[in-house]
């Protein structure tokens, strides 16, 4: 495929703006750039076709089954896109007077309230723009809490299970903490003895995903949060896997003090090829005074702005990724009281259904009833025939199925993590299982077929080592 710069032709124009209808203002030449930026010059039709070609080389949820573990690639309803495009939302300047943005504030206020109910929290902020941004914001709540109590000097450690996502330790460091890693037990949960040994008066808090990154609900959850609280720490819930438990279990009832949720996973807003997402953060009332500025609160005439008394300040400009919030709001209105728990229980059903169908061939890393996702361990297959998780993932591409998450969590060395979500039909799951079982057979009979996969994509495996060793990060103009 050609790049924009390679289809550019000098002098091509689109007639987009009228000529300036006042005297053109002349800046002193010393303030002007010496050369025009080499932006492409392209007609509208060629521009449109360029991106049609790129779209053809992009796999979205609309293209096919996308069982990417930990990412909750559920269907993105079209109506939510339409509602987020309403001019009453897109045409609003963020610094308009409060009386002229009552609709936006209502969307935010009511979204906060519904998310509080689902997570068991008392207050919510919609300012964080992504999950990792939410983690950081949640940890700042914990930081401010300890600072207020005069204990920040010694409470410097955040405990993170070794199965955690890489953003957890990175966020903890950004929030000024050091990280203590605790191992998993044989059942895939947190090793309670190791946890007890790890806590102390230097413990600031714990970050935990539950169900965890193996797709297992930790049965020791109440004990885990108690151990942290007894040591004087706070518990942070990473909402990456909230899609498993909505309406069935709430982080607030498990003993967590603050949470983040991912609107782009659990609440069906599209991922956009890597963003924009949204990572709202909720907390129990004793942490609410530290929430980012401004807060959106209920008022006599609807909803309005307010300031938390001891706010952490701001983590982003304005109020967050508002149009993403609009989509999640519409989604929650549609599903409502009955539909939200139903989504979770069907996500769990679909995952267990697939796991049972695959278990006769593939090794399940921790073979227990799973939540919304499960992890297969390709280690035995690798030992037997030399086929690894990457090979299986790449072979799936030939069948038009997006590969599962590979090599995560790190505690399973040849991991493939499958999360089907609730929006897939039984037929889709059956076919995916058939394909995976077929690939398992191929691995044994013809491993070379898998090593060379994919065979049906527009490119074969890219040379990533070369990309990192000799970085070419922009087009080189001739």
């Amino acid at each position: 495929m050609k790049l924009l710069f390679e289809i550019s032709s000098s002098g091509r124009r689109q007639s987009l703006l009228p000529d300036c209808d006042v005297n053109e203002y002349k800046f002193d030449p010393s303030l002007l750039r010496s050369e025009a930026p080499r932006l492409p010059e392209i007609s509208e039709v060629d521009l449109d076709r360029h991106y049609t070609e790129l779209a053809g080389e992009t796999f979205g949820v609309n293209s096919g089954f996308y069982p990417l573990g930990s990412c909750t690639m559920k269907y993105n309803p079209k109506v939510n896109e339409e509602l987020a495009s309403l001019r009453g939302f897109t045409g609003i300047h963020p610094l308009q007077p409060e009386s002229t943005v009552k609709g936006s504030l209502e969307v935010m206020g009511r979204t906060q309230a519904m998310l509080c109910e689902i997570t068991g929290m008392d207050k919510m902020t919609l300012q964080p723009a992504a999950g990792a941004h939410g983690e950081y914001t949640g940890l700042l709540l914990i930081r401010n809490y300890h600072r207020d109590r005069g204990e920040l000097g010694r409470r410097t450690k955040i405990i993170v299970p070794e199965s955690a996502h890489g953003t957890n330790p990175a966020s903890a460091v950004m929030a000024g903490f050091t990280v203590v890693s605790v191992p998993s037990n044989a059942q895939g949960g947190v090793d309670l003895d190791a946890l007890r040994a790890a806590v102390g008066d230097d413990t600031a808090g714990l970050m935990l995903t539950n169900p965890n990154t193996l797709g297992l609900f930790d049965p020791g959850i109440l004990e885990i949060t108690k151990i942290i609280h007894d040591a004087g720490g706070l518990c942070y819930y990473d909402g990456a896997n909230l899609n498993a438990v909505m309406g069935h279990a709430r982080p607030g009832d498990m003993g967590f003090d603050c949470v983040h949720v991912n609107l782009h996973k659990t609440f069906s807003t599209p991922h956009g090829g890597g963003g924009p997402g949204s990572g709202p953060v909720g907390c129990k009332s004793f942490l609410a005074k530290y929430l980012p500025s401004p807060e959106i609160v209920e008022t006599a005439d609807g909803y309005g702005f307010s300031e938390a008394e001891n706010s952490m300040g701001k983590v982003r400009s304005f109020y967050g990724n508002f149009l993403v919030v609009v989509r999640a709001f519409a989604y929650m209105l549609t599903l409502g009281r009955q539909g939200i728990p139903e989504a979770s229980e069907n996500a769990v059903l679909n995952a267990n259904y697939m796991m049972r169908k695959l278990a006769p061939a593939y090794k399940i890393a921790y073979d227990a009833q799973c939540m919304h996702e499960f992890v297969m361990d390709i280690g035995p297959l690798k030992d037997e025939v030399g086929v690894n998780a990457m090979d299986i993932a790449k072979r799936l591409l030939d069948f038009g199925i997006h590969p599962p998450t590979m090599y995560f969590p790190l505690i399973v060395h040849e991991a493939l993590m499958i999360e089907p979500t609730e929006t897939e039909s039984k037929e889709t799951l059956d076919r995916a299982c058939e394909v995976l079982l077929e690939i398992f057979k191929e691995a044994k009979e013809n491993p070379e077929l898998l090593h060379s996969a994919p065979n049906d994509c527009s490119i074969s495996r890219p040379d990533e080592v070369n990309a990192a060793r000799n970085p070419v990060l922009k087009y080189i103009f001739e």
């Binding site: 710069f5 124009r13 689109q14 000529d19 209808d21 006042v22 053109e24 203002y25 025009a36 521009l47 049609t52 790129l54 779209a55 979205g60 609309n62 309803p77 109506v79 896109e81 309403l86 009453g88 939302f89 897109t90 609003i92 300047h93 007077p97 009552k102 609709g103 209502e106 723009a129 992504a130 890489g166 990175a170 460091v173 990280v179 609900f217 279990a249 709430r250 599209p270 963003g275 300040g313 982003r316 149009l323 709001f329 209105l333 549609t334 409502g336 009281r337 139903e342 989504a343 229980e345 069907n346 267990n352 039984k426 074969s460 890219p462 040379d463 990533e464 990309a467 990060l473 922009k474």
Partner: protein
Amino acid sequence: MGSYIPNTVDERLEMLKSLGLSSFDELYSVVPEAARVRELDLPDGLSEMETVAAVSRIAAKNKVFDSIFRGAGAYCHYIPSVVKAITSKEDFVTAYTPYQAEISQGVLQSIFEYQTQICELTGMDVSNASVYDGATAAAEAVLMNVDGRRKKKVVVSGAADPQVIKVIRTYCDSRNVEVTVVPVKDCATDTEALRSAVDRETATVYIQSPNYYGVLEDAEDIISASHEAGAKVAMGVNPISLGIMKTPGEYGADIACGEGQPLGLPLSFGGPYIGFMAAKKDMMRKLPGRIVGQTVDADGRRCFVLTLQAREQHIRREKASSNICSNEALCAMTVSVYLAAMGPEGLKKAAVCSASHAHYLAKELSKLDGFELVSGREFFDEFLMTCPVDPDKLNEKLAENGILGGLPIDGNILWCATEMNGKADIDRLVALVADIVKEAE
């Protein structure tokens, strides 16, 4: 109620049965009783038709202004139709981060194109794939050169957007990085005060030009003073201005960053927006966030991948350069399509028209008694002006005429004009302002 689950109730029961279960409750048997919830206190679900009606009713409670003379960090520019059409293609909308390069060349190539355009615009060598917004871009930028040992302070211009300063403070406080905010003099950074604030422990100096008050900073002077003291300089810019104005690269800045919203993204009550970040080559491995690079596949064909991942959290965990694990990919594509549609001539026109309209507005307003530019310094498309009446009262009257006036700041007003505010629009505003002031007398 609404639902997006394809399986019928019978199919679900059949699937449960195949697992040896008879109820959904059994799927949650591992959850301790004290952590179970039986019913959520939420409204009943809705059909699609009802949801559309409900959300549309709420949108109608917002007031959409026909004419906007307010900027202050969010700008109303013309968005070509082709931008929305292209970025609504559902493959782009519904894809995940492009981890599987073989089926993600579309997204990867578009980010590579975006990175190239940002480098061209800013005069920098290397760009990342974007971050959340302009404020977090500035915060990540000032932290790039902090090493926790020798370089542990940052110096920030007080004439930068106050929201950006707030986010920089948040990011720095939690890392125990000291922030010094340089006072403002005549609507710009007090250069003398900046000189004395920057020392050998200063990792980065952050300035914004045009700054919060619309004024073009004396960037050359500030950058050379900072470099003499051994500090790097991150420069925030309005990307539209770069259609004509001198680039951060030409001024000698080490990092360029800013809010990309003016490049094709609607105002949208503050988001989604996009933070762009670009740097000189020597800072390449300190850039946070996703970066796309060019390589070849096993058959020697050109292709694109996420690269330099050794900086990132999923490899480095607590030693990563940032915790960010996404970008604003669809917004980056929006920016890229916008810049390609506009081309160098179109972007130049947007910049020239914005600046010309703003200067015409300033000239016309200053013909009225009590309206004077607060500073005589050169500005781009925003300027701070005195106001002889209560700015909020003035804006209320303008709002009745469908106009969003400038942003009130301490009794003055920060006005903004872009290519969207033509002569007739401006003349109407000025006539209304004259009437309102006269009425108030």
